[in-house]
Symmetry: C2
Subunit: 83 residues, 2 copies
């Protein structure tokens, strides 16, 4: 069965988001009231798995092994069957 | 009033996602069945605005001016009042 996982990866609250600061500064120079900006990664995965629990397990394992740096990042996963 | 906007920026379907390919290849080398992977940006904005429609207009304008390269990227916006 095919599953689609949407993984949102963000820097932890206490970590300085230099990219976010840079984007906020550029928006200010473009004339906007300076918003607060945090930039993260949006990863869309499509994988084969026998069932939902094992798909979930695989995605979390992929996050742990490669997609997320657990020291400075946190993540959330939205998983559904691919249509 | 404070508003929170979640902007998801992705490469258009027809654009080759080299970053996604690299991540998929690394997952394969780690022993996973090679998933299809697309990597995009997740941008969290907090901005002041008199009301929801003008907050929406501002965020789309920020996307057009800076956050999204409309030639190769597409985006979606989720907007709500900050609690």
């Amino acid at each position: 069965m095919k599953y689609k996982a949407e993984v949102l990866v963000q820097l932890k609250e206490e970590v300085l988001d230099t990219q976010g600061k840079a984007v906020a500064g550029s928006l200010k120079r473009l004339g906007y009231d300076e918003p607060s900006v945090r930039v993260g990664k949006y990863i869309l995965l499509e994988l084969d798995s026998p069932d939902l629990p094992s798909a979930e397990k695989t995605v979390h394992s992929m996050c742990k092994d490669l997609l997320v740096n657990a020291i400075i990042e946190e993540y959330s996963v939205k998983l559904e069957e691919s249509r």
